[in-house]
């Protein structure tokens, strides 16, 4: 190892090196979208219907066997893709929407009102998120809308923080000042100048929170806090781990492993996209990785 090499800036993680990650991430999420969209066509059975005996091993009729009450596990996995996206995408969109309005609004407004808003956001950031999410989900009862809102609620403060900082920097740029000087109203400046420039930051925030939302949703389902009529990867795992005989047979190979892999690969897919997007606007990354 040569010690005289200049350091931080020359770590060779150039943007080009991250392109494969972006491609891999897009491929994973693209495949997930296809599975979710074609769900009922791809799945051999209705995931809720009792179509076989209890805990059948994999066979030509049930490629991944059946669970403890005779539902087809493969069909459950396919349905899980849909429930995963159905929580992650709305939750991340909601978090991004609220975060944008609050963060960019505070930056445009500036002055005392803007500062006070961001102090309140800091207050939200200081609240321990996970316990609060669990309490809210438990009290709201098992419904998908509740899970979406709760996950979004935990996600908007960090987005507001990042977008506020970025918008504040933009506000001082020439073209924004000129536009305001010509008498443009905050709404117009936001639409015309700020939102396009904030696009990459917002996109990265969106995919990062989507990754968190996938894990959070499966976690809540695992804790038994998701809609019980809705098949999700977390609820498959919940059911599998409640089954007493799981540990004394090879059931876990087709019951636990595929669902666990599905959650992990989906979260990784979103993370890859996030990391792949990052360096195009944030040279800081070169230093930390």
């Amino acid at each position: 190892v040569s010690l005289t090499q200049p350091t931080a800036t020359s770590v060779s993680s150039t943007p080009g090196r991250r392109a494969p990650l972006l491609v891999a991430g897009l491929f994973i999420i693209g495949a997930l979208v296809v599975v979710a969209a074609l769900g009922p066509v791809l799945a051999p059975y209705d995931p809720r219907a009792l179509v076989g005996d209890a805990v059948e091993p994999p066979s030509a009729r049930h490629l991944l066997g059946t669970n403890d009450i005779g539902q087809d596990i493969l069909s459950g996995l396919v349905a899980g893709a849909r429930s995963s996206l159905a929580v992650a995408v709305p939750a991340a969109s909601l978090a991004l929407g609220v975060g944008t309005v609050v963060g960019v609004g505070a930056a445009l407004r500036g002055g005392r009102a803007g500062k006070a808003t961001m102090r309140a956001v800091d207050g939200f950031l200081a609240l321990p998120g996970f316990p609060l999410v669990v309490l809210l989900a438990a009290l709201a009862g098992p419904s998908r809308a509740a899970v979406v809102v709760v996950v979004a609620l935990a996600g908007w403060p960090p987005m507001a923080r990042v977008l506020y900082g970025q918008a504040l920097r933009l506000r001082e740029r020439g073209f924004v000042r000129a536009s305001r000087g010509f008498g443009a109203r905050p709404g117009y400046v936001m639409r015309r100048h700020l939102l396009p420039a904030l696009g990459p930051v917002a996109a990265a925030g969106f995919v990062q929170w989507a990754a968190t939302a996938v894990v959070l949703e499966s976690g809540l389902a695992f804790l038994g806090l998701a809609d019980p009529t809705w098949v999700s990867w977390g609820s498959i795992l919940h059911r599998a781990l409640e089954y007493q005989g799981l540990y004394f047979s090879s059931l876990w190979v087709w019951w636990v492993l595929p669902a666990g892999l599905a959650i992990t690969v989906t979260a990784l897919g979103f993370t890859f996209i996030g990391v792949g997007l990052e360096p195009s606007f944030n040279p800081q990354w070169r230093r930390s990785l």
């Binding site: 009290l139 499966s218 695992f222 804790l223 781990l241 540990y247 666990g260 979260a267 230093r287």
Partner: protein
């Protein structure tokens, strides 16, 4: 300290307000005859209505709630009719032991691996380590826990299936410690895997930034060994942020115990919370929420104080 007290106060008040403001009112449903979640045990129902006091004005309810908290009165469990404070006091030591051990392992492993990866940055071993830590971080802890249990306990038989110690046996102090440690290893390692990535990336980044510093060149010219340069010079700079981060990770680990304890049937607060959710035991649920919140905030505060103590620049 003030912002932490303020946050604690907000959380305590949310704990009071949320069950009362939630649409549908799950607590009220438990007290209404004919609703599906009606509590049939009359003593538990009375304790529940006394604890929540829903017939009185909100302000009076709030004062009773705060007064109860001050006396560590968290109400009665609706499923076991035991005081919630007693339940939690029984479980808390196990959670602290588990989270502490997990973060300890994560910190040691993260430090050594991070120092190595930073030192050999761009080397294949660095890339492998980065990929491994970031990958592990993306596996949900309950998936990792289930797989670890299946592989190491069920198939290899290296560790017990669950629990915190062997039940129904009297062991000497030494044998008991060994038994507890044996039950602890696997869940603690799973917990460590969940938090090690942060420690690793932190140390790695710190070492990378120090590599070209002039004092490193001087050290090399002086003829110091590579070991000394690596650990006593470069990695030493990572210790300060590492200490601050360790306390924060302890808070994160406490929340992860909710999942890990469920899989390993470990008798901690997380397992209590899981059972409370399954049994719709709202007083226990809220008690666990408060305890976990206090733990997270306390570790964050400890990190702040440690930082100020260790780094004179951070003192006001």
């Amino acid at each position: 300290v003030t912002p932490y007290l303020l946050t604690l106060y907000v959380m305590v008040s949310l704990n009071f307000l949320l069950p009362r403001l939630m649409p549908g009112g799950p607590v009220e449903a438990q007290l209404t005859i004919g609703s599906p979640s009606y509590v049939y045990d009359s003593a538990a129902r009375e304790a529940l209505s006394a604890y929540y006091g829903l017939d009185r004005p909100l302000g009076a309810q709030y004062l009773t709630y705060l007064g109860g908290l001050a006396r560590a009165d968290l109400g009665l469990s609706t499923t076991t009719r035991t005081p919630v404070a007693t339940l939690i006091a029984d479980r808390l030591p196990w959670t602290l032991l588990l989270a502490g051990t997990g973060v300890g392992i994560a910190t040691v492993v993260g430090f050594l691996a991070g120092a190595h990866a930073g030192w050999r940055r761009e080397h294949w071993s660095d890339r492998t380590l980065v990929a491994a830590f970031v990958g592990l971080q993306n596996v949900p802890s309950f998936v990792l826990a289930a797989l670890a249990l299946l592989v190491f306990s069920v198939h290899l038989g290296w560790a017990p299936l669950g629990g915190a110690r062997t039940p129904f046996v009297d062991l000497g102090p030494l044998a008991l410690a060994a038994d507890v440690a044996l039950h602890l290893v696997l869940p603690a390692c799973v917990l460590a895997a969940a938090v090690a990535a942060f420690q690793f990336l932190l140390v790695r980044a710190a070492v990378v930034t120090e590599l070209g510093a002039e004092y490193m060149v001087l050290g090399k010219v002086k003829g110091l060994s590579r070991r000394q340069l690596k650990y006593r010079y470069a990695a030493r700079n990572a210790l300060l942020p590492l200490v601050g981060n360790t306390a924060v990770q302890l808070g994160a680990a406490v929340t992860a115990t909710v999942f890990v304890e469920r899989v390993f049937a470990y008798p901690g607060v997380g397992r209590l919370l899981f059972d409370a959710i399954a049994g719709r035991d709202y007083p226990v649920l809220q008690g666990c929420f408060l305890v976990i919140t206090v733990l997270v905030l306390a570790t964050n505060l400890a990190a702040d104080i440690a930082y100020r103590f260790l780094d004179p620049r951070a003192r006001p």
